[in-house]
Amino acid sequence: MSAALLETTGLDARYGDFQALYGIDSAVASGETVAIIGANGAGKSSYLKAIAGLIRTEPDSVRFEGRPIGGLGAANILKLGIALVPEGRRLFSSLTVEENLQIGSYARDVAGPWSLDAIYALFPALQRRRAAPSHTLSGGEQQMAAIGRALMSNPRLLLCDEISLGLAPIVIRNLYEVIPRIKQSGTSIVLVEQDLAQALKVADRVYCFQEGRVSLSGRPAELTREQIHLAYFGH
C-alpha cells in the first residue's frame, strides 16, 4: 500500500457540549475506496464533516498529503482537493442543474478527468435536465447532480455521505455502478453508507463506527458477518 493520502490521528469532534467522535485513527491510501459503516448516530457523518472542515478540529488530527488540515475551514480544504457530497444532496435550489455542476469548479478549476462533458457522460440523465431548476429533479437525479457537483473540482479525495438515503433499490444500484468508474479516474473515495451490501461490494476497506469510536476495520473479504454484527451493535 502506498503512503496515506488522508490520515486521522486521535480525531475528536464536538457539536457544542456533545462529543460525536472520540480519537478516531484512520487512513485512506491514494486510489483506495474506504467505506464507513455503523448504526445511526455512530459518528459517520461527523467524521466526514470533520475532514471536510465543517466541524472544527485540532490541526494535527487530520493530515492530507502529510500536511495538517484540521481547522483550515471548508473553503480552504476544498481547494486542497477534498470534496464532500453532503447528506441529503442539498443542491442549490435557485440554480439550474448545469449551474449546480458549474459551481463545483468555481473555486478549484484544475485540469483533470472531470468536466461538464465527462459528468454528462457519466450521468446522461443530467444532460437531458441540464437547464431544469434543481428542485424539479427526482431524488436519484438530485443525487447524481450532487455527486457531479463534487467531482467538478477534480478532487483527490471524494467524500460521499449516505448517497443511497431515501432512494429506491434500483436507483441505488444505478448510482453505485458509477463508483468503480470514479475510482478508475484515480480519485480516492470515502463512503458513509447505511446500505451494508453496497458498501461491502465497492469498498477496498471498511471501518465500522460505534458510538464515535472505530469498532472494527479490515478488508470486506476478511470480515465475517458475526464480526460486523458485533461491531455494529456492540452486543
Binding site: 473553503a75 435557485s94 473555486a107
Partner: protein, 289 residues
C-alpha cells in the same frame, strides 16, 4: 385627462429614483440577509463625494461620479470585510445595531466635513431640459435619465446574477451558506464584493439625488424609508420587483400630490400599507423561501 396622464408619467419617472435607492438594499438583503440601516446615509456620502471631487478637480458631476464609483466600491468592500462581516450570524440584531450606529457616524462625519448647508449637484442646461410629447404634455430629461439608469442598473445586476460565475456564487451563497463553503466559496469575500457593487449603485443613485433636489448630511434616513418600501412592495430578493415597488411609490406620491399637495408623502406610505395588507410577500416574491 391629459394632466392625469402627465401625473402618472411623472410618478413612474420618480419611481426610477426610488428604485435606484432601493436596488443596493435589495441586492444586499438578497445575498446576505443584512438589513443595512446606513444605506441612505451611504448614498448621501456618495453625493458629497461627487460634490467634493467636482469642486476639487473643477470637473462636472458626471465625470466626478465616474471618479467616485471606484472610491465607493472600495468603501463598500472595506466596510463589509472589516466591520459588517463580523456582525453576521444567526442573530439578526447585531447588524441592525451596527448599521444604525454607522448611520449616525456618517451623518455626523459629513456635518463636520461639509457643514449643515444644503447642497446641489449642478448639471447645467440639462436640468431644465424637457421633451414635448404633444398636447400640453412634456417630460423632463433628467427624470427620464433617472428611470433609464434604474432600468440599466437592474438589467446589469440581473446579467451579473444569472450569466456569470460570480453571480452563481452569489446565488449559491444565498441559497445555502454551508454548502457554498463546501464549494470553496469564501462567503466573507462574496459579501464584500456584493457590498462593493451595492455602493456602485448607491453612487449612481447619489448623482440623481443630488441633481434632482437639495441635499444635506441628514436626509439619508428619510430616503431609506422609500427604499425599504420599494423593496418590500416588490418582494424580497427580486430586483425587477424592486423597480416595480419604486414605481408604485412614485405614482402614489404624484397622484396624492395632484389631489392635495399635502398628501404626497402620505399617499406613498398608504400605497405601501395597502400592498402589505393585500400581498404580504410583495408583488413578485421569489419562488423559494
Amino acid at each position: 385627462m391629459l394632466d392625469w396622464i402627465g401625473t402618472i408619467i411623472q410618478g413612474v419617472l420618480l419611481g426610477g429614483l426610488y428604485a435606484l435607492f432601493a436596488a443596493g438594499l435589495s441586492l444586499i438583503f438578497g445575498i446576505m440577509r443584512l438589513v443595512n440601516l446606513a444605506h441612505g446615509d451611504l448614498i448621501v456620502l456618495a453625493a458629497f463625494a461627487i460634490l467634493a471631487l467636482a469642486s476639487w478637480f473643477g470637473i462636472d458631476p458626471w465625470l466626478a461620479t465616474l471618479l467616485a464609483m471606484p472610491a465607493m466600491f472600495a468603501v463598500g468592500f472595506g466596510l463589509q470585510q472589516l466591520l459588517l462581516n463580523r456582525t453576521l450570524g444567526r442573530d439578526l440584531l447585531p447588524p441592525l445595531l451596527v448599521t444604525f450606529g454607522l448611520s449616525i457616524i456618517i451623518q455626523n462625519g459629513l456635518l463636520e466635513a461639509f457643514t449643515a448647508d444644503s447642497r446641489r449637484l449642478r448639471l447645467g442646461a440639462i436640468e431644465t431640459a424637457s421633451i414635448q410629447l404633444g398636447g400640453n404634455l412634456a417630460i423632463g430629461v433628467m427624470p427620464l435619465l433617472t428611470l433609464g439608469s434604474a432600468i440599466a442598473v437592474i438589467l446589469l445586476l440581473n446579467l451579473l446574477f444569472y450569466r456569470t460565475a460570480l453571480g452563481r456564487a452569489f446565488r449559491a451563497t444565498s441559497d445555502d451558506l454551508e454548502i457554498a463553503q463546501l464549494m470553496g466559496i469564501d462567503h466573507h469575500r462574496i459579501y464584500a464584493i456584493a457590498m462593493a457593487i451595492a455602493m456602485l449603485v448607491a453612487t449612481v443613485a447619489a448623482l440623481y439625488l443630488g441633481a434632482g433636489a437639495n441635499f444635506d448630511p441628514t436626509i439619508g434616513p428619510a430616503r431609506l424609508i422609500y427604499a425599504f418600501e420599494a423593496v418590500i412592495i416588490g418582494g424580497l430578493g427580486s430586483l425587477w420587483g424592486t423597480l416595480a415597488g419604486g414605481i408604485v411609490i412614485g405614482v402614489a406620491q404624484t397622484v396624492g400630490a395632484k389631489i392635495n399637495p399635502e398628501w404626497q408623502i402620505l399617499a406613498g406610505h398608504l400605497a405601501f400599507l395597502a400592498v402589505v395588507l393585500l400581498r404580504p410577500r410583495g408583488l413578485f416574491p421569489r419562488a423559494e423561501d
